[in-house]
Symmetry: C2
Subunit: 159 residues, 2 copies
């Protein structure tokens, strides 16, 4: 009948779930938390294109690590005044803050990685001293040995 892409098209909960790989429970949960507000047809939820967009925004927010309540705040801002430049400015601020926080988080992770790598190196060294046979990727050592036999010393120096 009607073109499924026409803007007045509506969606069932499952359609959106399939499209965005979410669960009905999740969408209902978002509604519970005030992030969505689909129309009803009797009891059944009926999602409009606007709802779909909101859902997209929610999921995007989640991807960048915003909490549902933060996402809600942003969504509310847009609702108050869809054209409000002030709201855009606040969103921008929020995004910037989040980006900064993420960079901090990434640096923390990098530190953790360094700490882990160092621990790995120490373990590897001691293991190599007492039980080289237990070292993972023994195949690499065979390569080294073969290289040695072949007189390709550079293979041991890494590149």
């Amino acid at each position: 009948m009607a073109d499924l892409r026409r803007p007045e098209r509506t969606f069932t909960i499952r359609q959106l779930c399939n499209e965005f790989k979410a669960t009905p429970r999740a969408l209902r949960f978002y509604e519970d938390k005030g992030l969505l507000n689909p129309a009803r047809e009797g009891l059944n939820r009926v999602y409009s294109h606007k709802d779909r967009v909101r859902l997209q925004l929610i999921l995007r927010g989640k991807r960048v690590g915003l909490s549902l309540s933060e996402i809600r705040e942003l969504l509310d801002l847009y609702d108050e005044n869809d054209q409000g430049a002030a709201q855009m400015a606040r969103s921008l601020k929020k995004f910037r803050e989040r980006a900064t926080a993420l960079e901090q988080q990434r640096d923390d992770i990098d530190s953790a990685i360094v700490e882990l790598r160092e621990a790995c190196d120490r373990l590897e060294k001691r293991l190599g001293e007492i039980r080289p046979d237990l070292l993972p990727r023994a195949a690499d050592y065979e390569q080294v040995l073969r290289a040695r036999l072949d007189g390709h010393a550079e293979a041991m120096l890494g590149k």
Copy 2:
């Protein structure tokens, strides 16, 4: 009396808490979970140097993002046989896995940062079109304006 650094020195819960910026509740919690097992003097906990080291390992594990149960596994491995090379090998494996997971996590964060930055740029652009006065860090714009007046065009090109 005795040198506080002598190995037979013991610690109270609060001393360790102060040293490592933890709370008594946390140490008791770790004990509850089987990560620590301090001696008792009546009811009071008495931490030895070994306990202190364990606590250090616990906190290090936390810093790199291991869960308490994972940390516990590792500590248990060391306990079973303090010299066991096999256990070292398993720890090494665990660390490697964690490092890999962390790198994945870091990449995810990087993606999120990119997504956020793009959103920021879009917002900034549209805001600049409709309400440039709301743009954050208006001071920079004043700088640009001043640079323009001064004929220093390169200041606008960044660097």
